[in-house]
Subunit: 139 residues, 4 copies
């Protein structure tokens, strides 16, 4: 199920073309991802305290239409893969009328904070991811 | 020919994982793109004064290895398509030892500042792009 | 009356000290300022369409205590001067328990978009500012 | 002696008023500060490895004239106080013709990474700061 987060465009998000700078949507994907994980009971702080970091390994975005200052957007996030070793998400940024402005995709891997090596998450986290993924597939 | 721009990582580029936030590489691709265009005699200011804007339509990046505060990086940019209607570039961000940390790709289209419609660039600009593209293909 | 805007700290707001980078609070003051003006019936878009820009001429901040990823903050904004020629605001960023993390102050002037010269706002805008300032003084 | 760092304005540094967003100068002060410390033999990485962090406690800036995309700026930094417990710096951002666009001031304190408490730097660092401060006063 898509997790939706509202985002109102700030003045500092714009550039000299008077539209949102394209790098900011990549940041907003992160807002969606964090909220998705929170919705299934996982916080990045918990992961970090347990010694895991979750660097992005891939990101892509397609820009269809620009957002402008003060626009009321929605960041929609769905998981497309949640495994012991990696997470993948799809995103849609829509405007007030539901028009899709930007779509995107990211992939993260779990790594050990100490060694920097890719690791597999323990059951404590994995069970939540697995359950969420089953719900996504069923929906 | 790849255009190379040095970039030293600032403290404000880092995040709480003590590495460069992944969205910043997308910004650095822009530094490379601007410098590539300057090297063939095109400045964004000229384009904008002539009524053209050049929104990004696609961006993608693969993150292999993290950069950290104070790292001395190089942003390498090559054109993969330069036409009347669009530009595409490939990027590599490397560290001091030449290790590739991040690769990426972007696509821009030219649009009219006034109408927002996709337009074709006049010969004044296009000839420079065409010549640069021929040089890329030959190299 | 202080206008309050909630802000949850994003991961991209943090730096390698694992706290919010100090420059971001300056951005959040802008969120407060925009919301204050909206609350008295003025939007930056209207001002810009009428040919006014409102560059910041002064900013200052005192940092008492750091905010961290995921903290639920409140941006409080009050006007300290609203005249035909300039606006000044005070800010407080507080955490969930009401503890003041950062205080700040900004000053803007109104300038003509075309000439870049400082201008005086027309009655259409000034009356709203004057009324708001009277309310601030009375409170 | 003022440490000078060149900075060319990136497109992503601009906002919808087609000038540099005011928060970015605060970031560029950091570039100057880091370079000043490097010039006297102190790197933030060394400080952090030794368990010190150096949060900003105060920042202020006065904006006289806007910088625009592609402008070639210089960040000038001088120390106004370098003690065991804190550092203070003044900044000037100038354009190609030497015109002062922005002036600023910051203050940092040294704190323990572990406890968050304000600490005094050991001689290893302090002697370098003291020597630099003497040179500033003499100049």
């Amino acid at each position: 199920m898509a997790i939706k987060v509202p985002y109102r465009v700030n003045f500092y998000d714009t550039d000299a073309m008077a539209v949102v700078h394209h790098s900011n949507y990549i940041r907003w994907f992160e807002i969606g991802r964090v909220e998705y994980l929170r919705s299934i009971g996982i916080t990045l702080d918990d992961l970090m305290e347990d010694g895991y970091v979750f660097p992005i390994t891939e990101v892509s975005a397609k820009y269809r239409s620009p957002a402008r200052f003060d626009d009321e957007l929605t960041i929609e996030t769905i998981a497309t893969a949640l495994t012991k070793a990696k997470m993948a998400f799809d995103y849609r940024i829509t405007d007030k009328e539901g028009k899709v402005l930007v779509t995107g995709h990211t992939q993260n891997v779990f790594t050990s904070r100490e060694t920097g090596q890719i690791v597999r998450l323990p059951a404590k986290y994995y069970e939540k991811l697995e359950k969420a993924m089953e719900a996504e597939v069923a929906s």
